[in-house]
């Protein structure tokens, strides 16, 4: 079945972008000088990262479906492929932020300041200077470009081949199994192998290096679980939206139940990692480690601690029962609230280290978020309308249609 974007959906995303830009302009013009520009770039990083990694995690989940030969999710393949489609825009935003940082147009990445490395200089910082072999601008840019290029290659490949698979004539093959499916498993393995390393190292580079002195070995998994749960939220909401419009008839209650289980499970994983990172640092109480939490507890306590409780307790208690996971009345509000929660989570990863006590949740933040959200929704729905809503010739498609539990 083909999907067509409704006029309402186009209008809604345009209004989101428009309102977002107006809020952004008002927020920026009422601010002052240096902080305003810094705030603009910080928010560009927050939203570029948040929405880019939602697409990235959708790619991860799609690859995971191939690698684990997961049958139930085949009817939702096109939904995940559509979520992947924001990657190019998110990648451009991220690269603009990184290049602007390298050109000293903003000061998000403290370690990009060359004065820190002048031995004996006024601003010499021994700790950062010792990290220079890894944390230097050219290598940072090269790494970022490699991550993004390789991830996007896999996204492009899986999407393109999935469309080609639709046109195959399976009777032409001796075993009746699409050769593209077998290749996709292999490509999925390659991607997950690459992503296993780069999901962590990209989080160190792009977010953890903002608080340059600080480090946490859990940070990679923590931000990875955050992007994964955000991606599952988008998938659940998109599936429920499409079903309410009469599309995706092949997706039944059991599929929604399974997506709800992922939402529930990854929320718990995220909470587990958030708490473990916090507890170990809180317990050992070493000055170089607690700085990260002191920054957040002094000026961002409500946002930082509040989102943890919301993102953990809401899905934990409301989505625990079987019936709730099958019911849009439970799923939708929980999903939308923790979507904001995980956006704020990224916000408090970036703002304390870049804006210090000047940051917060204001017009600039909300405006930038709405602008990106509008663009994100529009991109995804456009991509969804470019291919049939169901794949054909996937060997486990029938099994997925008959999913029942």
């Amino acid at each position: 079945m083909e999907y067509k974007i409704s006029k309402n959906a186009k209008l809604t995303s345009s209004i989101l972008i428009l309102v977002g830009i107006i809020a952004l302009v008002i927020g920026l013009t009422s601010g002052h000088g240096h902080h305003t520009s810094q705030r603009f770039w910080a928010n560009l990083l927050v939203n570029g990262y948040f929405f880019f990694t939602i697409s990235l995690a959708a790619l991860f989940f799609l690859a995971l479906q191939y690698v684990s030969q997961m049958a139930w999710g085949v009817t939702t393949h096109r939904v995940f492929q559509a979520i992947m489609s924001f990657m190019p825009i998110g990648a451009i935003v991220l690269l603009i932020v990184f290049v602007a940082g390298a050109a000293h147009m903003h000061h998000l990445y403290h370690w990009m300041d060359p004065e820190l490395y002048i031995v004996g200089g006024e601003h010499y910082d021994e700790i950062i200077a010792n990290k220079q072999a890894y944390l230097n601008t050219p290598f940072f840019l090269i790494r970022s470009i490699i991550y993004i290029a390789v991830w996007m290659f896999f996204a492009y490949w899986l999407r393109k081949k999935s469309k080609e698979e639709d046109a195959l004539n399976l009777a032409a093959y001796a075993d009746g199994v699409s050769p593209i499916y077998k290749k996709s498993i292999f490509m999925g393995v390659l991607f997950i192998f690459f992503f296993a390393y780069t999901s962590s190292s990209s989080a160190w580079d792009w977010l953890m290096s903002i608080d340059t002195h600080w480090f946490s070995t859990m940070f990679g998994w923590y931000s990875f679980s955050g992007m994964w749960v955000s991606s599952m939220i988008v998938a659940v909401v998109l599936v429920l939206y499409l079903k309410s419009k009469g599309y995706l008839k092949e997706v039944n209650d059991s599929h929604i139940h399974d997506l709800g289980k992922w939402l529930f499970a990854i929320s718990c994983l995220w909470s587990y990692l958030w708490f473990s990172q916090f507890m170990l640092i809180w317990y050992s109480d070493i000055p170089e480690e607690v700085t990260y939490y002191i920054d957040r507890f002094e000026h961002y306590k409500l946002l930082y601690v509040g989102t943890f409780f919301v993102n953990f307790l809401l899905p934990f208690f409301l989505l625990m029962s079987r019936d709730a996971k099958r019911n849009a009345i439970f799923l939708l509000p929980v999903a939308l609230i923790i979507f904001l929660g995980h956006w704020i989570d990224v916000l408090v990863m970036v703002l304390p280290g870049t804006m210090h006590e000047e940051g917060g949740l204001g017009l600039v933040e909300i405006g930038m978020f709405l602008t990106f959200l509008g663009g994100f929704i529009f991109t995804i729905l456009t991509s969804l309308s470019k291919a049939s809503l169901q794949t054909k010739n996937h060997p486990m498609y029938d099994e997925s249609v008959h999913l029942h539990h």
Binding site: F275, F278, M279, Y283, S284, D285, M320, S321, R322
Partner: protein
Amino acid sequence: MSDKKIYAIYDDDYVLLESAKHLVSKGIFIRDVFSPFPIHGIDPVIGLKRTRIAITAFIYGMLGVLLALLGIWYFSVQDWPINIGGKPNFSLIDNLPAFIPVTFEFGVLCAAHGMAITYLLRNWTLPGFKSHNPYPRTTDDRFVMEIHVHDNEGKSIEEIKSILNETYVLEIDEK
């Protein structure tokens, strides 16, 4: 007469499932089905209610969490405040992060054990109990339906048997 039981023996799970549908459509109440492995889709056919074990697991888990917090509060705060690495335990709330792992683990322990014991009690299959399997080959390669005559008032044994014989039944036993 009224406590007579009929056992219909099959050698295939799919055949049993289809036969059960046939029997139910003829108005016969099937008390239970014994099989070597779970038969997908049999529950709604013979009218089994969804298990409530998940609810008990939640209750046991919450009970475990409360019990753990109570225990930790008494052992480490009230009765003998322990000073670990310069963090004196004079209050539960201030030291809560340190107690969460234990609380979590104890919650899981209580949920898992409570659920297992409840399950065994409900089935009356605690270790040492006599098994009630009517037909031991159901642990190997046979599938058995148990029909109680008094569940099906207005139908004689012969009528039930004749309906059973409309299906691919292997053997019919009476007890």
